[in-house]
């Protein structure tokens, strides 16, 4: 589907637009199912929706979510191939591609997402917190619900999600870090997936921190399972989880310098000679930006 991008790569100006354009109709495509999503029995329709052949992956549970914005720009890529030092004589050097992650959605979100969002906002208001300030953005994409939470409220949100009977996300699958070095002020992300066994639901929380101040509150006191997960994310990304009982390296040796999974950390590797030719290390080979 998107693999034909290189074919249209000769048109630098158009490169940006088709990127988002195919996404938009796709999110709108299941709109005909919108009434289905409004009924509270979206959970029940899931099974039959799944069985329908030929429906798109996004059709499950009817997903009428609309985009508020075009999406968050996380990077701008130039050129077609890896080298940035002027070695590219292919004529593709002038290409510019803006990388946008799916943007915030507006209601209705579809599936069980509206219910979860309502309950969470209600519960936060009961605690005297302003949902607008706590939840920076809500993204519905590919049948998944993501709350972008401001980091100072992460602990309160997690506790609410775990303890509120209508939410009951009692089970956390750990934290995964992501590094967007070009997204100024929001370089480091911690991504949590929370599962509710009671209601059979799963949601995602995303928290960001700037590179200059890589602090995110630890959720170990709410989800003790995140003990090792947070250590791993600290080890690889350098995100400091405040309040963690013993935030030390877990995979890398204790005296290791740097955070290996950050994008600016080199992969390493050495060129290998094979039948007289030098095969460059994987991070030195041609890549497609």
């Amino acid at each position: 589907m998107s693999a034909d991008k290189p074919a249209g790569a000769g048109d630098p100006a158009g490169e940006d637009k088709p990127k988002t354009a195919p996404d938009a109709p796709k999110a709108d495509a299941p709109k005909t199912d919108a009434p289905k999503g409004d009924t509270p029995s979206a959970e029940g329709t899931k099974a039959q929706a799944h069985g329908e052949p030929g429906t798109q992956g996004a059709a499950e549970g009817a997903l009428p979510a609309q985009r508020e914005d075009l999406g968050e720009v996380i990077a701008v890529r130039r050129g077609m191939f890896g080298p940035r030092d002027g070695g590219d004589t292919s004529g593709y050097g002038g290409l510019v591609r803006t990388v946008r992650l799916p943007g915030g959605s507006s209601r209705p979100y579809g599936s069980y997402f509206d219910e979860v969002a309502d309950e969470l906002e209600g519960a936060l208001e009961e605690q005297g917190l302003d949902p607008e300030a706590v939840i920076e953005k809500t993204v519905v994409d590919r049948d998944e619900l993501t709350f972008h939470i401001s980091r100072e409220h992460l602990l309160a949100v997690c506790r609410t999600l775990r303890d509120d009977p209508a939410l009951r996300f009692e089970y956390c699958t750990g934290v995964s870090g992501v590094h967007f070095p070009e997204d100024r002020g929001r370089e480091l992300r911690a991504v949590y997936h929370l599962r509710s066994l009671t209601h059979n639901r799963i949601i995602r929380l995303e928290v960001s921190a700037p590179d200059a101040d890589p602090h995110i509150p630890s959720v170990v006191e709410v989800y003790p399972t995140n003990d090792w997960h947070e250590r791993e994310t600290y080890d690889f990304f350098g995100i400091i989880f405040d309040g963690h009982p013993a935030l030390t390296r877990i995979m890398m040796p204790d005296d290791w310098q740097g955070f290996p999974q950050r994008k600016d950390y080199p992969l390493g590797g050495i060129p290998v000679e094979y039948k007289g030719a030098q095969i460059p290390a994987p991070d030195q080979r041609r890549s497609y930006s």
């Binding site: 870090g177 399972t225 090792w228 890398m252």
Partner: protein, 461 residues
């Protein structure tokens, strides 16, 4: 833990051979171009022994592993023991860290399966399928994956569940001294590996499941081999019951050992047989079906003993249920494609055995070299550059033999994964080791760890 520094700081005057009087002399650091270099000096083992003799408590810190036959690979258990009782237990991991997640960011999406299959090397098909389901979700082609591919995925995963459980039971038995269980387990696992070899060409590290479907269709003779396997396993599985289930020695070693109740599992995020041994029938194959699991008939076995014996019983019963699913898979196999129809994603070539080994099929080579220039270009672009995946993130989870295997994948719209994170069940479950072992005997640590069934390839990645 008593370290040389501690004791020598207590009594610096008693050590006249010390190079310097200041405590700094014991470990000074200096900056070099290759990082900080520490010079460790001072300390005297005689003093350490003396101090240990003077303190009248019996507490000793024992490092079990990282090279120890009963720790399932390079797992290091740090045990504080008082006599035979374990008072504190901690894990040291990371000895098998290979940077797979980082490496994935430098290969195409399809090449990713070659890496992920090596994570938990006892459950390669679960790693591959979980990764491919996540990539397919990002591509939006989840429903386009052909039925035959899904059936074969289920088939391979259930075979894999049997082989993984067999290793868990076999090595667990061996660590108790029950070598017969070990021999039986590896004997039956060999049958499964033979099937893997027949289907994928390899016994481990298959990279057979690919984004969009499978690398290959089943070779001729597979269905017969599967039916033969089912017959064999129907005969062999009761032997584990005969050997272990009613065996008083086996029961005495496993019952009430490695206790972790439902609240503990929830807090520590334990899944799989550990969670089901508390009586909660949570299984992602039932709760959030993938690959068409909702169409298969099988039960989720549970026990309510919360102990190692319950986990053993669950593993044996799950193998029986897996056999049931495999039978249903064999009946469901219908001719059809095993890769999505979209030629922009599907790998262009099929494999065939040539005079120089396995490679691209001759028909395909004839086509790209002799007939179609476009096919050649297409092949070249897909193989060297790969396909692009629209930006965004996705999480997919499968029920591996050890619990919830989750994959968080982020794409930036490029031909390579921007970030892939595996939530490996072994990694999470291993955290519960301390809760299971503290207060018990040393010999029970081995049983408890065996009932967690950690595989360090998955833990460290």
């Amino acid at each position: 833990m008593s370290t040389p520094q501690d004791t020598s700081q207590d009594a610096p005057q008693d050590s006249p051979q010390d190079t310097a009087g200041s405590p700094d002399a014991f470990a000074t650091g200096r900056e070099t171009t290759e990082g900080t270099v520490y010079t460790v000096s001072g300390g005297d083992w005689g003093e350490v022994a003396e101090a240990a003799a003077k303190s009248d408590d019996e507490k000793i810190i024992v490092n079990m592993g990282p090279q120890h036959p009963s720790t399932h690979g390079v797992l290091r258990l740090i045990l504080e023991i008082d006599g035979e009782t374990v008072t504190e237990a901690r894990c040291g991991i990371g000895y098998l860290h290979t940077g797979i997640e980082k490496n994935l960011e430098y290969r195409t999406w399809t090449q990713g399966t070659t890496f992920v299959t090596r994570m938990d090397y006892l459950t390669p098909f679960f790693n591959e399928t979980a990764y491919c389901l996540a990539v397919e979700k990002l591509l939006g082609i989840t429903d386009d994956v052909p039925d035959r591919a899904s059936v074969i995925r289920v088939l391979l995963m259930e075979l894999n569940r049997i082989s993984s459980h067999l290793v868990a039971i076999a090595t667990g038995g061996m660590e108790l001294g029950a070598t017969t269980v070990m021999i039986y387990g590896f004997r039956d696992r060999e049958h499964v590996l033979d099937l893997f070899e027949l289907i994928t060409g390899l016994r481990m590290n298959h990279a057979f499941v690919r984004p969009g479907g499978l690398a290959q269709d089943l070779p001729p003779g597979t269905v017969d081999a599967l039916r033969e396997f089912i017959r064999k396993m129907d005969r062999n599985l009761p032997e584990y019951d005969k050997l272990c289930t009613g065996n008083p020695v086996f029961k005495a070693r496993l019952e009430d050992i490695g206790y972790l109740d439902l609240a503990g599992c929830m807090a520590l995020g334990a899944t799989g047989p550990i969670l089901r041994s508390t009586g909660l029938p949570h299984d992602l194959r039932k709760a959030q079906p993938y690959c068409g699991y909702e169409d298969y008939e099988f039960d989720v076995p549970t026990t309510d003993t919360c102990d190692s014996f319950g986990r053993f019983l669950i593993r044996v019963e799950e193998m029986r249920q897996s056999l049931r699913i495999i039978e249903q898979c064999v009946d469901r196999l219908e001719p059809g494609p095993v890769m999505v129809a979209d030629k922009k994603i599907a790998w262009p070539a099929q494999l065939a055995l040539g005079p120089d080994g396995l490679g691209n099929s001759l028909d395909h080579i004839r086509n790209i070299m002799g007939t179609s220039m476009e096919a050649l270009i297409h092949h070249f672009k897909l193989v060297t550059e790969g396909f692009r995946v629209p930006p965004g993130q996705a999480y997919s989870a499968v029920e591996s033999p050890k619990g919830e295997l989750g994959v968080h994948v982020v794409s930036d719209g490029g031909t390579r994964p921007y970030r892939v994170h595996f939530r490996d069940p072994s990694f999470t479950n291993l955290q519960s080791m301390a809760a299971m072992c503290e207060g018990g005997m040393i010999a029970d640590v081995i049983v408890a760890v065996a009932s967690i069934d950690p595989v360090m390839g998955g833990v460290d990645r």
